[in-house]
Symmetry: D2
Subunit: 203 residues, 4 copies
Amino acid sequence: MSKYPVNETALLLVDPLNEFLSEGGKLWEMTKGTAETAGTIANLKKLTDACRHAGIQVVYALHHAGTGDDYDNWKFLNPAQQAIKDNQVFIKGSFGAEVHPDVTPQVGDLIAQEHWTSSGFANTDLDLLLKQHGIQRVVIAGNRANTCIDSTGRYAVELGYHATLISDAIAAFSEAEMEATININWPAFGHAVLTTDQFLKQI
Amino acid sequence: MSKYPVNETALLLVDPLNEFLSEGGKLWEMTKGTAETAGTIANLKKLTDACRHAGIQVVYALHHAGTGDDYDNWKFLNPAQQAIKDNQVFIKGSFGAEVHPDVTPQVGDLIAQEHWTSSGFANTDLDLLLKQHGIQRVVIAGNRANTCIDSTGRYAVELGYHATLISDAIAAFSEAEMEATININWPAFGHAVLTTDQFLKQI
Amino acid sequence: MSKYPVNETALLLVDPLNEFLSEGGKLWEMTKGTAETAGTIANLKKLTDACRHAGIQVVYALHHAGTGDDYDNWKFLNPAQQAIKDNQVFIKGSFGAEVHPDVTPQVGDLIAQEHWTSSGFANTDLDLLLKQHGIQRVVIAGNRANTCIDSTGRYAVELGYHATLISDAIAAFSEAEMEATININWPAFGHAVLTTDQFLKQI
Amino acid sequence: MSKYPVNETALLLVDPLNEFLSEGGKLWEMTKGTAETAGTIANLKKLTDACRHAGIQVVYALHHAGTGDDYDNWKFLNPAQQAIKDNQVFIKGSFGAEVHPDVTPQVGDLIAQEHWTSSGFANTDLDLLLKQHGIQRVVIAGNRANTCIDSTGRYAVELGYHATLISDAIAAFSEAEMEATININWPAFGHAVLTTDQFLKQI
């Protein structure tokens, strides 16, 4: 029996945004290196297409797309939030805040509320949406490895989900960040680390 | 003005347990290397004593101490939980599940409910206890760097707290794990990484 | 000293929507009776204007405005969600899903993510927004007394906030619902029940 | 098909404590009236025995049993917490803090972390335990109707569970409180209100 029953598994795409993944995105120069080495964009497309074909629920967890001044009166900004504010990243309606065209949401996908920080689960309706659709296993891909991907995986585990990382469908700002997520952290807290092909053989 | 006002700062000691930190603890052989290099035990004591002296609230976030069969019917065990089950780690009433004698809880400290997985906040009353005591900044030390320390820090940030890591008062199973937490991840999601001495100069 | 310090108090307006409060709103015939008896609309305006004038943060917790088919594949709909689905209530872009014109959001207000069920805190970023703005006391008004108002108050208390109900700035579908919230439940779990005038005298 | 499949349903006993239900309990004089009218104790026993017999998971959500001074430095006590403090209710190790002898926990039951306020889910591991055991439907009984029972039910719904109230296996401090929970609130937010016998016919 597959470890990933179709009706209780979701592909969770975390921040597959132009800002990270497209020429012209504000963070592309920083993610380009790891994305090209891993084949991230092609793998995200392959993974998403195959999951749709198999009937696995596709779920988007997207970063807050703001107006540029949303963080103005916050008590504590972390470095990522400070950089978003300083560089006007993920601005609502901008090219960068849109999902990469190769993995555009389709009818039937679920789109969770946008997250303010790193975890797709924190301060959003992601857990509720997954529960209401009977999802017990999440397969996670997207950006950025050691922030949103890692945090979303940690929350998934704390919430009782089975959590799989797709190691070649993520990107980061350095190979050291990729390494930290793929080889050091996820194997310690998560349930599986698989490449796109390894995962697709199991569904 | 100090960045760490006494009445809104807490020292959060995560799993400062014999299992990790004492000769005879079941994980000591694995943490010994990083702990001895960093001076973790001495720093934990120095840090805790100084915080008590300064009037900073000391809070304990301790791992679930079980009976050995608590995980028996769980759907999904992560590698840490599987290892705990297989090796009977953190058994209730055992030496290993006790706090290291150098940082024993004292009257006036807060002890949160025990956590099942990695984050001291997940599925416990830690956030409530901190809020009810007016805490807005947490200073985190203990074990294991890339699991409980990292997860507790990530949750703190998502919950709106200012999160500081004390880089020489933690331990892990390898220097690569220490590096991942101290130099790669916390600087990306947290608010400060300080040594014990650097922190104590600011209070 | 006021029990409601300006910089740590928020007025939390829960679902002050046309659907409940305006002629033509789909639920207006059901809330009209209690709203007219209590003077809800006038009190909501008086309260909101006075809080703005005093510098108290105004925060909106609004019900999910959907497309009519958002609940289609959910496992469990509660009666309120079933009624929303059946009667196409709170449809995105419709008159009913807009805030009542007397308490329109203004620049500087906070608008939390929309809630799917009853509590403004559940599955949203409301707690994070309040924490990031230093809020420790919430003053709650809006609709519907025994569902969203009551649930939001209960969550506030569990999360460590001081929770005040404004008893004449809420509405419900019957006087029995008003009574259950104002005289039976809130006095058991919340911190204060005040009329608009009683509250305004304290700020 | 039963609406309550054995392997995804749990009986959730909230605060079935001597303090509420036994002669000599500190709150017994207050709950006695409604408990005797409803037959609460006999129904709790009947319900629990039948669930065990049917193989339905029994789960306990118990109030924090304290040392009498746990709330000493809290910022905000609600009326229930103030009363607990003033009257030394639910003192750890006392008769009152024990489960009523007719529904004593047995091997195989789950006991969630104790709750500080009203909801068995808030600041505890209850959601995690339920998820890890595949539970999707909770059947709730115990005390006190309009505080812990109502709040636990509201949280269950927000978390995505199907929530059933057993209307004659709860107690409160007045018939008005019973009425508010059974006839006014639960029908608005929950999924079912059944008597013990009505529920037992469905399993």
